[in-house]
């Protein structure tokens, strides 16, 4: 197994990542539930990670993977803080429907 991309082809990964990313984006737009929107964002992040790894393999360069590593760390931090915010929002409003959060409306 010299290089997997010779067997599968980078374009397949690209398609896959794009599809996954778009599903994530669709989810964010489609749903109003903050937690599910959160999950959708995770999907999008993973789509990007996947593509990074794919290109890392293509270039045979470790840096792409290092980046993924960092982005995972960021994602973890983000989830931790984000969920904490959601919890406090839920405490205050009794719901996590995003449409209820319109305090910034101009």
């Amino acid at each position: 197994m010299e290089n997997i991309l010779q067997a599968i082809g980078i374009e397949n990964y690209i398609f896959l990542s794009v599809m996954l990313f778009c599903i994530g984006a669709f989810g964010v737009l489609y749903r109003r539930n903050a937690i599910i929107m959160f999950m959708s964002i995770e999907i999008m992040l993973n789509a990007v990670n996947l593509l990074l790894v794919a290109f890392s393999t293509l270039h045979q360069d470790a840096e792409g993977q290092v980046f993924v590593f960092f982005s995972m760390a960021v994602a973890a931090a983000e989830v931790a803080v984000g969920l904490a915010i959601l919890v406090s929002i839920f405490r205050n409003t009794g719901s996590i429907d995003i449409d209820n959060l319109k305090n910034l409306k101009g």
Partner: protein, 628 residues
């Protein structure tokens, strides 16, 4: 040596001014008057020194160069003085008459609480007048020119509690400033053409035919502008209306500033710049016409005035018109001659009227005078001499100078001669009207006034006597055929002006003039002595007399044509333009506000909407970056 004396000449009145400003209140009235008079006297004595020096050595005028003042790219203006025949002559009667009037004022203004200020202003005026006369270039002249205007403003409005007087002062200053703008522009043109403002350089340039022919249009324009300046200061049409109003000031001021000295500054300037005016014959014609018109217009207004000082004021305007007539005819030395004689008799007349007003405690209306001959003999006789002089009765000074002017006019332009003669007849009439109403008949004032009638003290009568003598014999300096004045001024003029020969025409004209004057006197006699007429009250005036009394409604016309539109314009600008500009600026703020109001709809708080915008935005960026 000469430099130091020249500085003394200039600065003596200025020190008088400083003294009276800073120590006047403490020094007491006597000292104030003394210092004020002495400082002018010092100037007079210094002038005498230069006069004798010049007589000894006529071809060498004294030039005192002090320091560089204004520097411009092409030339510099130096602070320097020139003492030649013309300026010394002018200085003589400015400081001479100035001294007399100062002397007179000691008594006249003695009861005024601000006497020190009066003397300070008077000294300052003399200082600026000396500056005007002595400057060796037009800018120094301009300092004096504006400076005397300022002093005139201060002195007309001397009794500043009265807003009418203040209005008169303001009017004088503003009218003068209109002329000053003309003078300033004339200065610029001269500087542009000749590359200097120094009289000497300009006169040399004026004889440079190449330079002159290249710039003939500009030179004429310069002459015109300078003449506009002169009309402001010397009260000629169209800027004469300030002078009668200027009589609001104390009478010595009227005598010194508004009769003898300041108002002749225009004639001085034109004479100074004669080489320039000689190059512009069309402007000289204009000057002659304006002068003649002013002479007759002012004389006609003077016919019906009832305020004793107003009569004299219009007489001054009229006489100044005659001087300008002479200037316009190119007879500069005759104009100068008339300036001098006029200074004598007009100063005497004003001081005399001041004496009368003093005796009547401020009464100026001739309808309330009369019969003063017996109570005030010295005032009467001195004024009588001057009146005869101004009317042109042989052999008093006015006869000679007026006759010269009319003679010159007759030789060059008959209509101008006719106009001038009419003005002279009118002069004789209104002057004798003044005399008859004031000094003859019965006293028409209140009992209270009658009780206090008295001859003025010696300090007032002494200057009157001196001036009356001068008014009587002043003609001697320029008798026809053998004119000392022409001879004295000859170094100034490159083309010598030969004196008129005493031929038959000359004698005939003299006779005509005398007869004219006698006619004027006769009419006045029949009207005011024979018929004992007293001018009617203001409201009863009818027809042309009313028009005359209201000065041809010129002030009203100026009001309608200039003042009111300016006020309206100011109102309009303030209420509309300013608001419009201001609102335009605020409009930008309002636009931003409106955009904000509309834009805030976009911030509707719907996360879905934001995300959609985000996605679309990102998509467009991608398209722009990679696909286009």
């Amino acid at each position: 040596m000469e430099k130091n004396i020249a500085l003394v000449l200039v600065l003596a009145p200025f020190f008088g001014f400083l003294f009276n400003v800073f120590f006047g209140k403490k020094a007491g009235k006597t000292l104030v008057g003394l210092v004020g008079t002495a400082s002018v006297l010092v100037s007079f004595l210094s002038t005498l020194f230069f006069f004798s020096a010049l007589n000894a050595n006529p071809s060498q005028p004294v030039v005192v160069d002090l320091f560089q003042w204004i520097s411009l790219e092409k030339f510099n203006v130096n602070f320097s003085f020139l003492l030649d025949q013309l300026s010394v002559l002018w200085l003589l009667f400015v400081t001479g008459i100035g001294t007399l009037i100062h002397l007179y004022s000691i008594s006249y203004m003695h009861d005024d609480e601000n006497m020190n200020k009066f003397f300070a202003y008077l000294n300052l005026f003399v200082f600026f007048m000396i500056m005007l006369v002595m400057g060796s270039n037009l800018v120094i002249l301009f300092i004096g020119w504006e400076g005397v205007g300022l002093c005139s403003y201060l002195l007309i409005g001397f009794w500043y509690k009265n807003q009418d007087y203040n209005d008169a002062a303001k009017k004088a200053f503003i009218m003068n400033r209109i002329g000053d703008l003309g003078l300033l522009v004339g200065l610029f043109i001269v500087a542009y053409v000749f590359g200097s403002l120094d009289y000497k350089v300009i006169s040399e340039g004026a004889y440079n035919t190449q330079l002159v022919s290249n710039n003939s249009g500009l030179i004429a324009l310069a002459a015109l502008c300078l003449f506009i300046g002169a009309t402001g200061k010397s009260a000629q049409i169209p800027l004469y209306t300030w002078l009668p109003d200027a009589m609001a000031g104390p009478t010595p001021v009227s005598a010194l500033i508004h009769a003898a000295t300041m108002v002749t500054a225009g004639i001085f300037m034109v004479t100074r710049m004669h080489f320039l005016f000689d190059l512009a014959p069309q402007i000289l014609d204009l000057i002659a016409i304006v002068g003649a018109a002013t002479a007759v217009l002012a004389a006609s207004i003077g016919l019906v005035q009832n305020d004793i000082k107003k009569v004299l004021a219009y007489s001054t305007v009229s006489q100044l018109g005659l001087m300008f007539l002479a200037l316009g005819l190119g007879a500069y030395e005759i104009a100068v001659f008339h300036v001098i004689t006029h200074a004598f008799f007009k100063a005497c007349l004003f001081l005399g009227s001041g004496s009368v007003i003093h005796a009547l405690h401020g009464e100026q209306d001739m309808r309330n005078m009369g019969g003063l001959r017996k109570v005030m003999p010295i005032t009467f006789w001195t004024m009588m001499i001057s009146t005869l002089a101004i009317s042109g009765i042989f052999p008093l000074s006015g006869f000679w100078s007026k006759d010269e002017i009319l003679l010159t006019a007759f030789h060059s332009n008959i209509p101008l001669w006719i106009v001038g003669s009419i003005a002279s007849i009118m002069t004789a009439f209104y002057m004798f009207r003044l005399m008859y109403l004031t000094f003859f008949g019965e006293f028409r004032g209140t009992e209270e006034q009658k009780h206090h009638l008295h001859e003025s003290p010696a300090l007032i009568t002494f200057p009157l006597i001196v001036l009356a003598i001068l008014a009587a014999v002043g003609g001697l300096i320029s008798l026809p055929g053998n004119s000392w004045l022409n001879h004295y001024l000859a170094p100034l003029f490159r083309k010598a002006h030969e004196a008129h020969h005493l031929d038959a025409t000359a004698y005939a004209l003299m006779a005509v003039a005398t007869v004219g004057a006698l006619i004027g006197i006769g009419i006045a006699y029949s009207k005011y002595i024979k018929k004992q007429e007293v001018p009617v009250q203001d409201a009863e005036m009818k027809g042309f007399a009313s028009v005359l009394y209201h000065k041809y409604y010129v002030d009203e016309a100026y009001d309608v044509v200039v003042v009111t539109p300016l006020k309206k314009l100011s109102h309009f600008f303030r209420n509309y333009f300013e608001v419009a500009f201001s609102e335009t600026v605020f409009a930008f703020g309002k636009i931003a506000n409106a955009i904000g109001t509309q834009g805030k709809v976009l911030q509707n708080g719907s996360v879905g909407f934001y995300l959609l915008a985000f996605v679309i935005g990102m998509a467009s960026i991608l398209v722009y970056l990679f696909l286009v």
